[in-house]
């Protein structure tokens, strides 16, 4: 399977340094923030996707989508795990004990799941971005990050195959389906653009060759999105206005509701073994 996301050249972080086993102390804060943004995105997407488990439109598809939810949660756990190795609490405590203002996800991922068209479109927009980012991160100067990216990239291949197969058929299948997909794309678009909002300190990480510049990945992603959606007969909005703020901890009411449910039981006794 060829790289389904881009076909274009991937953006590798500009680096001629040798691989780092431990990150430089002055970059630790920025690195942890970057990893948190990665983890929070995946955690919330996994959570939202799993809201379909048992409620999917077809038995077979219900099963496939539940696997993708598990994949995203698994990715989140790996990113939280890397932060844990940098001195943060366990993945459980990072995900289940943190208040909304401390979450650095893009707001795209916290939005209510909506109908199945919205879930498919969100998943696909995010997967295209994630694959690009992971490919770039495989060149990270910080080895644990490069290793993790290499591992996670594999699962993205399936996600894109799944998304692509449905998108193309549904958008061409019937007006009803195309309208639902187009509506979802129009609504989600400003949020999707903000996937590329950088976390504070990203520029220093880019300079150290640890992460790629979000601003460099964004146009590559946008081109891939336009190609794929327009091939399916959908219109990608021209707007460049992104709903940013997520990477600074500014979120909507959806995240508060989500966290109340997700963390409620765990927080009822955080010291207990669940």
């Amino acid at each position: 399977m060829a790289n389904p996301a881009t076909g274009a050249a991937t953006v590798a972080p500009a680096t001629d340094r040798t691989a780092l086993d431990t990150p430089p102390p002055e970059l630790l804060g920025a690195l942890k923030r970057y990893l948190l943004a990665l983890a929070d995105d995946e955690m919330l997407l996994g959570h939202r996707d799993a809201e379909w488990t048992g409620l999917g439109p077809i038995l077979e598809e219900d099963i496939a989508f539940s696997s993708m939810a598990q994949d995203e949660l698994g990715h989140a756990k790996i990113w939280y795990g890397l932060r844990h190795e940098l001195g943060e609490p366990s993945p459980d405590r990072q995900a289940f004990l943190r208040d909304a203002p401390d979450w650095l996800n893009a707001r795209l991922l916290e939005l209510d799941r909506g109908d199945y068209a919205a879930s498919l479109v969100r998943q696909y927009l995010f997967d295209l971005a994630e694959l690009l980012r992971l490919e770039a991160l495989t060149g990270s100067a910080w080895k644990p990050l490069a290793d993790a990216a290499l591992k996670l990239r594999q699962e993205e291949k399936y996600h894109l195959l799944h998304g692509q197969a449905y998108l193309e058929r549904l958008a061409k299948g019937a007006d009803e389906a195309r309208d639902l997909l187009q509506a979802a794309l129009d609504r989600l678009w400003p949020y999707a653009l903000a996937i590329w909002e950088p976390v504070e300190g990203e520029a220093d990480l880019v300079a150290a060759g640890i992460v790629p510049a979000s601003a460099a990945l964004a146009p590559v992603w946008r081109a891939a999105v336009v190609t794929r959606f327009e091939r399916a007969g959908l219109t990608v909005p021209l707007s460049h206005d992104a709903v940013t703020g997520g990477r600074r901890g500014e979120h909507g009411p959806e995240l508060v509701t989500l966290l109340a449910a997700m963390q409620g039981l765990y927080r009822s006794d955080p010291e207990a073994d669940w």
């Binding site: 488990t53 439109p57 696997s67 058929r169 007006d175 389906a177």
Partner: protein
């Protein structure tokens, strides 16, 4: 060949322990009983995904969350396998799901009880999945090939469900006092539905004999219930859970457990649609199928709405 000769052949084949396969001649009653049985089993898996699925967003911690998603996913998978097995008998899946949704085809009563606490998830995973394993292991030896094949795979996956259920119970019962109380409270509620799981006592069952001879139902309700009691009561006592049936006792000679009969009136009430959760569960199932219908229509040209000009 006359039908009597065919029937004799058919019964001899089953008596030899050979399986019946889809293309084989079979008595109409065998076909209809099997469809009813497998369809209800498939319905149960599909409806069973709802009470547990509702807890996925609330599951405390990565491990529980991911395991619960995987478990509910498996249940949907079991429904998929079982509907396919039933389809080999000539009834299309959309008809079966239609019947589930309009209430004319039944599913297990246990899913018409509420799962209002996290400990309910532990109890469903342990007591109910444990009962399902007993039932499915027995049904695997039945005479219909496709059903047996589906059940072999299902039983393998249920072993994981039982383990995660048991792990949950042990975690809660050895946890904080609040966790222990929640565990006991849920257990007390689930005891009676679990006793009803295998169905009414044999003396009330009317057509067990021919179902046994045809290998549709290799063991009776009471026999299955007894197997479950043998496996589970000692473990329940070991964990220190209090069984709400104060008259439960083990016959020293036969080794059989004697239970207080649950309220079979309630059993029939729930079966006939008047349980604590019947209406909500079915309404949710209907909502799901309505919400997903655009997607199915879009990929099914002859059902698509007319294209706008």
């Amino acid at each position: 060949m006359t039908d009597e000769a065919r029937l004799a052949d058919f019964e001899a084949r089953i008596a030899r322990g050979e399986k019946i396969e889809p293309g084989d001649w079979m008595p109409e009653r065998y076909r209809s009983q099997l469809i009813r049985l497998i369809q209800q089993h498939a319905n149960s898996e599909l409806m069973g995904a709802l009470p547990e699925g509702q807890w996925i967003p609330y599951a405390p911690g990565f491990k529980r969350k991911m395991a619960l998603i995987a478990k509910v996913q498996d249940e949907v998978g079991h429904a998929q396998l079982l509907y396919r097995a039933a389809e080999t008998l000539g009834k299309p899946r959309h008809e079966m799901i239609e019947e589930l949704i309009n209430g004319s085809s039944k599913y297990s009563n246990v899913f018409n009880y509420p799962c209002d606490t996290w400990a309910d998830i532990a109890m469903v995973g342990w007591l109910i999945d444990g009962a399902a394993i007993v039932n499915q292991t027995i049904m695997q030896t039945g005479s219909y090939g496709p059903y047996g094949r589906a059940l072999r795979r299902i039983t393998y996956e249920e072993a994981f469900h039982l383990k995660q259920g048991y792990d949950l119970v042990v975690t809660l019962i050895t946890g904080t006092s609040a966790q222990r109380a929640m565990c006991q409270e849920a257990f007390s509620r689930w005891w009676w539905p679990t006793m009803m799981f295998f169905g009414p006592p044999d003396k009330q069952s009317v057509h067990t004999e021919v179902l046994q001879r045809w290998g549709i139902k290799p063991k009776t309700n009471d026999e299955q219930r007894q197997i479950w009691l043998q496996k589970f009561v000692p473990k329940i006592l070991e964990l220190g859970l209090e069984i709400p049936d104060t008259a439960l006792r083990r016959d020293a000679e036969s080794g059989e457990w004697h239970i207080t009969q649950p309220d079979w009136n309630e059993f029939f009430r729930v079966i006939n649609g008047d349980g604590p959760m019947n209406r909500e569960r079915l309404a949710l199932r209907r909502l799901i199928y309505d919400e997903g219908s655009w997607l199915r229509r879009a990929l099914e040209p002859h059902l698509a709405l007319p294209k706008a000009a």
